[in-house]
Symmetry: C2
Subunit: 228 residues, 2 copies
């Protein structure tokens, strides 16, 4: 932690004073008292982004799904389990934010009915009714005075096409796209940034290196973006 703090001193301070809100990790959508739907997100990329933002001088609040990762130095963390809890935590904290980075792999759906006791094994099949979860990024991007929004997209195929479509559909200035195979769970990542100026592939590296490169990109564009 001391080393982390010392190293942070040497990172460029391009986002000094910027208030950033970051989501990270998976969400867990309960089926009953023990079972649930989740995904393979480790939270590492989101935590790396929170750390890189803090290194760049930002005041960082991290809303984290259920992961066991240590909180980056100097970051304020709020733990949640489900997408609805993450939505509530974001709504509560977004009003003061200048920058919102949605890294969490929020479950799109949750079971329509949650059982308060553990469901017993049955011999036949089972049908699970799922209902859509709130679109947290969509909500933030459509606020009357939204923070600058950055979306992450994990795609398993047609990366560029899906990434461009998602950037326009969500109405976000910057979209960070990665291939699921590259990113989920591992310690390295390779991403392509999409913004109004086009496509910016970043070199492959550790998630912290990639996070710092993304934050440098944001810091470079910040004077332009924040002037609007």
């Amino acid at each position: 932690e001391l080393l982390e703090a010392a190293l942070a001193v040497f990172q460029p301070k391009g986002l000094a004073g910027v208030r950033a809100l970051v989501t990270a990790g998976p969400t867990f959508e309960a089926i009953d008292t023990v079972r649930g739907i989740t995904n393979l997100s480790s939270g590492k990329m989101g935590f790396a982004i929170a750390r890189a933002l803090r290194e760049a001088g930002a005041q960082v609040t991290l809303v984290a799904g259920p992961v066991g990762l240590p909180t980056p130095y100097g970051v304020t963390r709020h733990d949640v389990v489900s997408a609805e809890q993450m939505f509530a935590a974001v709504k509560e904290r977004v009003s003061g934010a200048d920058l919102f980075i949605s890294v969490a792999a929020v479950a799109d759906f949750r079971p329509a009915h949650r059982s308060d006791h553990k469901l017993k094994r049955a011999s036949g099949g089972l049908t699970l009714e799922l209902t859509p979860n709130p679109d947290i990024l969509g909500y933030v991007a459509r606020l009357p005075r939204p923070p600058l929004c950055v979306a992450f997209a994990a795609e398993s195929e047609h990366l560029e096409e899906h990434a461009r479509a998602k950037r326009e559909a969500k109405g976000v200035p910057l979209l960070v796209a990665n291939l699921v195979q590259e990113a989920i769970g591992g310690d390295e990542n390779q991403v392509v940034l999409f913004d109004e100026r086009g496509r910016h592939p970043l070199p492959r590296g550790s998630k912290l290196e990639v996070a710092r490169a993304i934050v440098r990109h944001i810091a470079a564009a910040w004077p332009d973006w924040s002037r609007r």
Copy 2:
């Protein structure tokens, strides 16, 4: 690890030479390339059982679902993700086993169809068809010459009634029952053992203390059980 090895020397060796197969952790049942159904099992109890068995002199093979826990000293570990993979791993290793302890919280159901690409967000609801997973413990207990089987049961209510019913339905000599609220995810546990002689509550303690008490119970009964 050195300390763990040194402490193990002082544990009673009631299961010297016994070949034990243990399952631990949750299973993860893929819906698509990133999403899946799982449960809140941390794997801690199963790993503690594996460690306690090894301390008692057993040769231990541990089949573990997706958890990040370190392998206990001297234990042979095989990692799996889904219930079907766990079933295959157990089938492959059970023939030489004298003792089978099923601690894993195996998902009862898996999605009937797995998508090879990440499903896209849709605005409407979704129905997930689930199909039953193999009953791993049931298979082992019904082998022509089964190892001695120990089942774990996590119940959210009516602990005794459900535990007795499960012990009889599975046809296992020993069932370890705990309340979900006590056990899942935490570092402590409190269990009640059910065997042919009745009900044996164990004192509350760390998962390792509880695991050692369970192993002492098995070791005490072992001469009788293995004679049959």
